[in-house]
Symmetry: C2
Subunit: 225 residues, 2 copies
């Protein structure tokens, strides 16, 4: 059975990846560099949110961005314009990043001492959730047009994330999105998840998000998390 | 290198899957059953579009629906209410369907003679595009909030689809979505792709989509495609 073989291979790959991710996190700790893994569906607003984040934090910390894309370099240009040191990671059709690909990205980003590096993962709610990238924290964006039921349908990604950004709240009036249900369903998957509603377009809520991220970076540098 | 091993295994799996998909299509041809593979990002509106489609066609043909979901049965209930014979396929964490899983779904759906069966794939723009399910035609939904640049970022899925439904056109005024660019970028990936703008919510454009699908089903039954 093809299905059985796939799973066997996958388990070996996942165990190997976990070891590489732990090693990468230890190195980041020594360098006092905070790595954030940012995940979402295609079109949920990762790049726009990240641009606003870089603009909010760039005065107080040195920021690097790794843009994972199957095949284009739209995002790295946008990010450089916003003030971050950015590189594009072409995954060559791969649906997620793993710890080894992340390490290669960090090497390409260079030796310069950075306080915060954000890895913008491939737009996908399924595969990226299975692979520890070595990041210190996992963040995901759920956008209002996607609907409040997503934690019911894509459980793993909500359970592995430390923070959930609910983006595009400026269009709440035009969608049947129930914020209370979204929060309840997300907490059902992960009782400790931090939830921050924002509009990357209008800027609403972006201060709360930038504050959360700043606190994480400072704690990591001080060895507290 | 872990990466190399993965790719080697994957190529074997894909070749095997292609053979199974071709065999499945031949069987469907004999049974005069048309199978449509419907793909999209999470939250693009697959289920709502499919409900409206079933309502539009159920008077003139017998319809079955296979709802692939990682872990929930929200959609099959919705679909049964709309008038289709529906089953839920739990993928157990898998990010796509292949021909063997589709065959298992068809067997679960039963022996009853159906004219049209729709396979609602896992919400994902990456992995489902790589696996031929055995469907006669591939359809995808791109929703307005996701942005017009998606064909640049997720090229493969646009190139393997016969038809692109652009959904949620009722919210065009609230998003920076350029319909002309979306059409240009999609055609750049696939010059022959049929493009149908709709709002599954308001019903706009749904006649054009139902007409396209009805023509495909009739041609298949008459051995023309």
């Amino acid at each position: 059975m093809a299905g059985y073989r796939v799973i066997e291979v996958k388990e070996g790959i996942l165990a190997n990846n976990d070891r590489q991710a732990d090693a990468l996190r230890r190195e980041l700790k020594q360098k006092k560099t905070f790595l954030l893994n940012l995940m979402s569906s295609p079109g949920a607003g990762k790049t726009t949110t990240l641009c606003r984040t870089v603009e909010a934090l760039t005065d107080t910390m040195r920021i690097g961005v790794m843009e994972a894309d199957i095949d284009s370099d739209v995002d790295a240009k946008t990010m450089t314009d916003a003030g971050a040191k950015a590189i594009q990671l072409h995954t060559g059709g791969m649906c997620h990043l793993d710890a080894e690909m992340t390490r290669q990205g960090l090497e390409a980003l260079g030796d310069e001492q950075l306080d915060l590096i954000v890895l913008e993962n491939v737009g996908n709610l399924v595969c990226p959730a299975e692979f520890d990238t070595g990041a210190v924290k996992n963040a995901m964006i759920l956008s209002v047009p996607e609907g409040h039921d997503k934690p019911l349908k894509y459980p793993l990604i909500f359970s592995v994330c430390d923070v959930l950004i609910i983006n595009k709240i400026d269009v709440l009036p035009y969608f049947d999105f129930d914020m209370d249900k979204a929060v309840d369903y997300a907490r059902m998957r992960n009782p400790n998840i931090e939830i921050i509603p924002v509009s990357a377009k209008t800027g609403e809520g972006m201060d709360a998000w930038a504050d959360w991220l700043r606190r994480q970076v400072e704690s990591w540098k001080q060895g507290e998390n």
